[in-house]
Amino acid sequence: MLKYFWPSLKNLAWLTLITGIAYPLFLWAMGALLLPSQAKGSLVERNGVIVGSLLIGQEFLDSKYFQGRPSMTGSFPYNPMASGGSNYAGSNPAQKDSMVARRNRLCLENDCSLAPPPRELLEASASGLDPEISLRAARFQVRRIAKARGISEAEVAEVIKKNAIYSLWNLYGTDRVNVLQLNFVLDQISKKE
């Protein structure tokens, strides 16, 4: 068997150099040259300070901000260092309890008389970092936000419409909005007024 050892080691060594070092370095260089913003994590700046990444959700509790999906990341919600979901089964009583609690909290702040809160806002995302909500889940929050900011509901709805991200070829994915982006725009509008 020893005669197979050297060829194995030799092949492992130089394939490691190519696929483990040259390949990621080449892509790093290409990313830095051609797509620097994405390659660095799609970071967002406000007044020269980095306030987050467009792709990583943040926890919003204030009623004047759009709120994202419930998050079950480790230690605290929207913890990017411990991504993951709850892994609760539908048959788990703990899942039912958290859904009831979330519905009650949402219906305290929002008007649930017209429509019940969308399931998406009652159930945690897979990554716990989902930066987006569907258009439906955004519209559900319009009345609350308009009231908290003292602007018209039409104005908030307009922000949603302008920032909507549509599914691919009207087929793959969901029509949705980026929560951080929406809140960013809302803050800018409030500042102007």
Binding site: Y4, P24, L35, G41, P80, S83, N87, G128, L171
Partner: protein, 536 residues
């Protein structure tokens, strides 16, 4: 059912065909090189393969243990514990990519790129190389030569995996997947929440993770993480990358044996089984409307489609948490793994796994009609059938015995998250995933303990070699037989009848083996599930 997911499925299969047919053409050129210098028989091939794995496991184990002392470790992670490093090293070398660790919290950039990503390339290449050896065996006229292992590995990595990965990774960066060596970025959110954003060479690893049907995520949430899979477009690309090589290999096979219909028959068999599974999962998830463990950008349908693809192939990446699927819904990925990962399957391993079922089907059909069983002119004797039986039975044995042992060990049952039958599903899923080299999980199971690390490590190892070695032995035996010309007595293996028969054999073997275990886990859960969801 909504018609939208059906269109998604059809368009996906069409796009796959557009990519897989040219891929098959390209792969075929690599399988049959002009010069056959330093080719050897199956024993030489198998020995090279085993030693190559041993060296790979030792290197990766050492790297994972020592990562705390090595450079490119901006978050200052420490080395993995011995049992976790054992599990992880085997996991990546066997193309399983079961992950008992959390990527962002416990692996350095160096270990990700020089250790894990390298094995993503190499383990995929090994599977493809074994498929090459088996394909060549059908064309040999008795000299027993099936190829040169090292040459195959090099060719597969440099001429297939690397070029496609570079293009795919660039596309992923465009959609937002980071490729950076900076340490995690500390930010203060607009409502004041402090976050630490993990970065790393993600795009380069992501591309090969899908193309090589590895599935080991850079981050804990895998392809559900917005940094790994930011948009529906990147999701579609990832789904296509998973099936690209497994589907391409079927077309390459048709060209290698100079009968394209044989390759098309394999593709169709796989596509039929895959479509049935996808439609079932669409149905179950459409009824349940569960959003727990699903990302908004993917929604119910892209999550269901991805779950079917990743477990049909032995990829194991996830863009939704399988544990939170509906009870019957969660059974589909579980069953797809238990069928032996032959519905497209892993890179190479799906092809040779399906050929095992083809040989079984030909043998059974031959018995029924009283003909000598032969496939593509190679007579199937007792030796080949023994090897087929070993290869088909080794994974169920590992899964069922492993699960049976686990439910008797407090350390194993204590790691379960969900109560009731779902808890048993978590354990059954873990062993099915490991032994069939898939790597996805019902992740409520806290699998990072010595029992699971060692038990699942052994399952991955024997699940990989328990199939590869018999397959190479069959290849060796076929290669040393002359190819008999087709006659009136030859059973056609390309018609609709054979395709249907093959699908039935695959389902039958899987269903008979696993039905009792499934009845106790997802089926019991589905039948006893309280339907409280109606209130929402």
């Amino acid at each position: 059912m909504d018609s939208r997911p059906i269109f998604e499925l059809v368009l996906y299969l069409l796009l796959l065909l557009c990519l897989a047919i040219p891929a098959g053409l390209w792969i075929q050129k690599i399988i049959t090189p002009r010069k056959e210098t330093s080719w050897g028989d199956w024993k030489i091939y198998a020995k090279s393969l085993i030693i190559f794995h041993a060296v790979g496991v030792l290197f990766l184990y050492a790297l994972l243990r020592l990562q705390g002392l090595l450079p490119l470790n901006p978050q200052g992670v420490t080395g993995l514990s011995p049992d976790l490093a054992f599990n992880t090293a085997i996991s990546f070398v066997t193309n399983t990519n079961w992950q008992a660790y959390s990527g962002e919290a416990s692996i350095s950039y160096l270990a990700q790129m020089v250790g894990l990503a390298v094995q993503n390339f190499l383990s995929a290449a090994v599977g493809i190389a074994v498929a090459f050896a088996l394909m060549r065996a059908f064309t040999r006229q008795g000299d027993g030569l099936i190829g040169n292992f090292y040459e195959d590995i090099r060719n597969v990595v440099l001429r297939i995996l690397l070029p496609v990965s570079v293009i795919a990774a660039l596309a992923l960066i465009y959609w937002g997947v980071p490729q950076s060596f900076s340490p995690a970025v500390s930010v203060q959110g607009i409502q004041g929440q402090a976050q630490l954003l993990p970065l790393g060479p993600v795009a380069s690893q992501e591309a090969i993770k899908m193309l090589g049907t590895n599935g080991g995520g850079f981050f804990n949430a895998n392809s559900a993480h917005p940094f790994e899979n930011p948009t529906p477009a990147s999701n579609l690309l990832q789904m296509l990358l998973i099936f690209l090589i497994p589907a391409g290999l079927t077309f390459a096979f048709g060209r290698v044996v100079k009968d394209k219909r044989q390759g098309i028959a394999l593709f169709l068999s796989m596509a039929i089984l895959f479509s049935i599974a996808a439609l079932l999962l669409f149905h179950f998830e459409g009824v349940a409307q569960i959003w727990e463990g699903k990302e908004t950008r993917f929604g119910l349908w892209d999550s269901s489609l991805f779950a079917t693809i990743t477990t049909s192939a032995s990829c194991g990446a996830v863009n939704a948490m399988h544990s939170s699927l509906s009870a019957f819904g969660g059974m589909i990925p579980l069953l797809l793994m238990q069928l032996g990962e032959v519905v497209f399957g892993g890179t190479g391993s799906g092809f040779y796994g399906m050929i095992l079922f083809v040989l079984l089907a030909v043998f059974l059909a031959g018995l029924m009609v009283g003909r000598t069983p032969e496939y593509l002119g190679k007579k199937i004797g007792p030796y080949e059938m023994k090897m087929v039986a070993v290869a088909i039975l080794v994974t169920p044995l590992l899964v069922l015995i492993g699960t049976a042992i686990a439910v008797c060990v407090p350390l194993a049952t204590g790691a379960v998250l969900n109560p009731g039958p779902h808890g048993l599903t978590e354990i059954l899923y873990a062993f099915s995933s490991a032994a069939n080299n898939n790597g996805s999980a019902f992740a409520g199971l806290s699998a990072n303990n010595p029992f699971y690390n060692i038990a699942l490590g052994l399952c991955m190892w024997f699940g990989r070699f328990g199939v590869i070695l018999p397959v190479l032995a069959i290849a060796g035996s076929f290669a040393s037989k002359k190819r008999a010309p087709e006659s009136a007595g030859t059973l056609p293996t390309h018609g609709p009848l054979f395709i249907l028969f093959l699908c039935l054999i695959v389902i039958l073997v899987g269903a008979l083996t696993y039905f009792p275990a499934l009845a106790l886990s997802p089926i019991a859960e589905a039948l006893s599930e309280s339907h409280f969801m109606g209130g929402f």
